[in-house]
Assembly symmetry: C2
Homo-oligomer: 142 residues x 2
DNA sequence: TAACAAGAAGACCTTTTTGTCTTTTAATAA
DNA sequence: TTATTAAAAGACAAAAAGGTCTTCTTGTTA
């Protein structure tokens, strides 16, 4: 569905928010272990998230990542647009550049509702709303 | 949505079927121009389609690609599974390996219906059904 | 202020995807 | 049977995605 960067960003940020809600600010080592992703890569991705202003970081002992509570919730759409652009949200299922309702591809009518549902999902859900769900800690139970 | 190989395969095969329905068997040069994709890459992809038994080819003068009418229609699902595997059709929206209804990820409930709709679409539609649609020739009107 | 902890930055590497190029094989027609 | 047409095959190359490693900076604590 999404690429790895988006997946890791999504899982990391939900994990950070989940811990923030418990008055904690997790570090890279903890985050990467919990979300089962490569530590150095997660570090790089979180750097980008900080530069984008999506989350804050504190250096030094006792440091870690945390959300600024005064900032509004981060929708999945904003995150996805930043990490992989809008092709999933706007692209034609057939891969045609010039596909639209006036000039539809053969899949246009059937794929439209699916794309709409995806857009609805990522517009409504936020990192914060996911962090409040039951399985937000997504501990793997084998 | 899909990767390039799947897109080009999809567009090529629909174009071939569309021309077959008009008693023609198009060649690589024609196909790649019509679907607006790199000729050598389309050639390679169609070779794979032939080896998979999805379509037939005839070499030499007057040659080209054609479907065997005695063979049943090719679903988009079969094509997608062959070109890029089942991650789009089965994967978790959150990218979790162990996501299922017993151990759902935070997106599980909302993403489920979307995945179901995608599966329904690619199971029901075939190269042939797309070739019969209005815009099957997908001429680009700018 | 020295030692340590933790994120920042960026160079570098690997793998996968996407694509090109050259040579070979097969079929047809003059 | 030779020239021509068109697909087959596979080596090669470029670009993007995914990932690692080292060094630097910043902050905390003894």
């Amino acid at each position: 569905m999404f690429n790895k960067e988006t997946e890791y960003a999504l899982r990391s940020l939900v994990y950070i928010q989940y811990q923030n809600d418990r008055q904690l600010k997790p570090g890279i080592e903890e985050i990467s272990k919990e979300i089962e992703a490569p530590q150095a890569y997660v570090a790089k991705i979180l750097q980008r998230m900080v530069r984008l202003g999506f989350v804050n970081s504190i250096k030094g002992k006792g440091g870690g990542f945390l959300f600024d509570e005064s900032v509004s919730e981060l929708t999945l759409k904003e995150l996805i647009l930043a990490t992989e652009g809008g092709t999933i949200l706007n692209g034609c299922g057939f891969g045609m550049k010039h596909c639209n309702s006036d000039n539809p591809c053969p899949l246009h009518d059937q794929y439209g509702p699916i794309r709409d549902a995806i857009n609805k999902l990522v517009s409504e859900e936020t990192i914060q709303s996911l962090a409040r769900k039951e399985n937000a800690a997504f501990k793997v139970v084998l």
